[in-house]
């Protein structure tokens, strides 16, 4: 039995929402970052599904670029978190609050 393409899109939507909600409710910078990665992967799933649906390769090419960018973002993000941890010894985003309006 073939799985209909809509199911993939629904799954991608669910994953994206889990990621977005996770970013909003988590307080740990690392977990927030993981949730962002989840969102990007949900986007990848959507791209691959659409690519299959449209019979064009553009979407799959796009996925490669997203993965590359996500890797670059991971490098920079973890470095930033480490730099902060060296100075403050916390990665709880509630404690990172010297600047407020």
């Amino acid at each position: 039995m073939e799985v209909p393409l809509t199911w993939y899109l629904v799954l991608s939507g669910i994953l994206f929402s889990i990621g977005a909600v996770g970013v909003l409710i988590n307080r740990n910078a690392l977990v927030i970052f993981m949730c962002i990665e989840l969102m990007l992967n949900a986007v990848n799933l959507a791209f691959v599904t659409f690519s299959r649906q449209q019979n064009s390769m553009d979407g799959q090419i796009f996925v490669f670029f997203i993965m590359t960018v996500a890797a670059a973002e991971a490098v920079v993000g973890l470095a930033i978190i480490i730099a902060l941890f060296r100075n403050k010894a916390t990665i709880n985003v509630d404690d990172i609050n010297i600047m407020k309006w």
């Binding site: 990007l40 986007v43 796009f62 993000g77 470095a79």
Partner: protein, 483 residues
């Protein structure tokens, strides 16, 4: 199976290539010849930027699509590239002394600035959502690092982390929007998306509407318009001052370049829908930016809110669209680059090591102690407030007259009321400079010949193009056609 390699035109991306190669070489020079070239990396990158400016200048008048319609060179992208290079060159001049004084004189600083410039140029010339996405990410990732460049300072770390987490979060939304548009139209090319929508205008796919809204979120974050602006005051305050100056001019202009190109080239048929959304965004952006700026005590934070308000004025230009709207946006971005970089240069000069003199009260008595700097600061503040005959006035005048010509009278009136509100907090700086006694001794200025050149250049630009704007306006009007 035969594989056909599509033709590519390296000439069209020659400015991008020259800056990328220079950036890589600067990194290598820093690794291998650090002792000899440590203090000269800034000069090298400055010369490269100027040389690239000439290359870009020769591209005026070309209308070329290259790399299988992924990239476009037209007068619009050339004008924006010149703005980016101007902003990069001035920021390099301002940084040289600052990063030595703060003890972060590493070669990667210039590399990152140059790579951010490459990203901005890709954004301005992107004719496909893929190129645009790559450009945005290239610029943003460089800026995340630059924001945290003084890595011993907690403020800088915090700015960097906030910028990074929110930026990556919003990237997710923007990508989902791109995926939606791709799913609905089967292409990521801007022109082809427009053709598809025109051909199937009978039944408008809701996915296109959702995709366009998600793109508004993504681009709105990059240009810091309300309600996607919460990152910008914190990031502007915490970042090293030259980086703040950079972020508020070049990348912001790049955000507008992309915003306008995507919405006017790919989604012109949806204009009645998105122009209402942008109308509301423009009004709340101007109003919130100006009202919150009034209560700020830190000058970098005040300029952050002022920059949000200016994004609101510039959004008016996108809503107006057409030749006048585009030309006024181009002119406004150039004007904003001159006056904002000038104001930040003065803040850098007054700062001393580890302490940035960033409170507005710290400027009190400046008029007696350093009269020339005080006059310069006043010129920039007057220009930002939009007082004639400076460049900021011409920019605002041009946008609002374009709005009135196209029938957006309410919008123009709201813009002007906001412009009047903004006079209050810009003039407060000049009042503090001239009418208050100094609350403490001024530390010796951190002047270097380079930053003096930058200040003189920005003053000349602000005053000269304010009095004789016709050449730039003519050039902006020539550039106002999206090829």
């Amino acid at each position: 199976m035969e594989i056909v390699i599509p033709p590519f035109d390296l000439k069209s991306i020659s400015p991008i290539m020259s800056i990328s190669i220079a950036a890589i070489f600067i990194l290598l020079i820093d690794v291998f010849f650090r002792r000899t070239f440590k203090d000269r990396l800034g000069y090298i990158s400055f010369l490269v930027v100027i040389a690239t400016g000439f290359v870009v200048y020769t591209q005026i008048g070309q209308n070329v699509y290259s790399f299988s319609n992924m990239f476009v060179v037209d007068n619009y992208s050339v004008f924006f590239n010149l703005i980016f290079l101007l902003s990069t060159a001035l920021v390099i001049l301002m940084s040289d002394n600052y990063i030595k004084q703060e003890g972060v004189n590493y070669g990667e600083y210039y590399t990152l600035i140059l790579f951010a410039t490459v990203g901005m140029m890709l954004m301005a010339g992107g004719a496909d959502l893929l190129t645009i996405f790559l450009g945005i990410e290239m610029m943003s990732i460089s800026l995340y690092v630059l924001a945290g460049f003084t890595r011993d300072k907690l403020r800088s770390n915090e700015a960097s982390l906030k910028y990074f987490l929110l930026g990556a979060f919003v990237t997710g939304f923007m990508l989902y929007g791109i995926a939606m548009l791709y799913g609905a139209t089967g292409t990521t090319n801007l022109k082809e998306i427009a053709t598809f929508i025109t051909e199937n205008s009978g039944q408008l796919n809701p996915m296109i509407v959702v995709g366009a809204s998600l793109l508004i979120i993504g681009f709105g974050f990059k240009i810091a318009c309300v309600p996607f602006h919460k990152w910008s005051p914190d990031v502007y305050e915490g970042s090293p001052t030259p980086v703040t100056a950079f972020m508020s001019t070049g990348p912001k202009a790049a955000g507008f370049a992309v915003f306008l190109r995507v919405f006017l080239v790919a989604l012109p048929d949806l204009e009645p829908k998105w122009s209402i959304i942008l109308w509301v965004l423009a009004v709340i952006t101007m109003t919130v930016g100006n009202l919150v700026a009034i209560s700020q005590t830190n000058i970098k934070r005040m300029l952050a809110y002022s920059s949000i308000a200016h994004a609101g004025y510039a959004l008016v230009a996108i809503i107006v669209g057409g030749e006048f709207g585009i030309a006024s946006l181009l002119f406004y971005m150039l004007a904003y680059t001159f006056m904002n970089l000038g104001a930040f240069a003065i803040i850098i000069v007054l700062g001393k090591k580890g302490e940035e003199n960033a409170n507005i009260e710290d400027f009190s008595g400046l008029g007696y102690k350093h009269p020339l700097l005080a006059i310069a600061m006043c010129i920039f503040m007057f220009s930002l407030a939009g007082i004639p005959p400076l460049i900021g006035f011409i920019g605002k005048f041009y946008i609002f007259s374009a709005a009135i010509k196209s029938g957006f009278i309410v919008l123009a009136v709201i813009g002007m009321i906001n412009s009047v509100i903004s006079v209050y907090y810009y003039l407060r700086v000049t009042v503090v400079i001239y009418m208050k006694k100094p609350i403490r001794e001024f530390s010796p200025l951190s002047l270097s010949p380079l930053i003096i050149v930058a200040i003189i250049f920005t003053i000349c630009g602000t005053v000269y193009f304010g009095i004789f704007p016709s050449k730039i306006i003519a050039f902006a009007q020539q550039s106002a056609v999206l090829y």
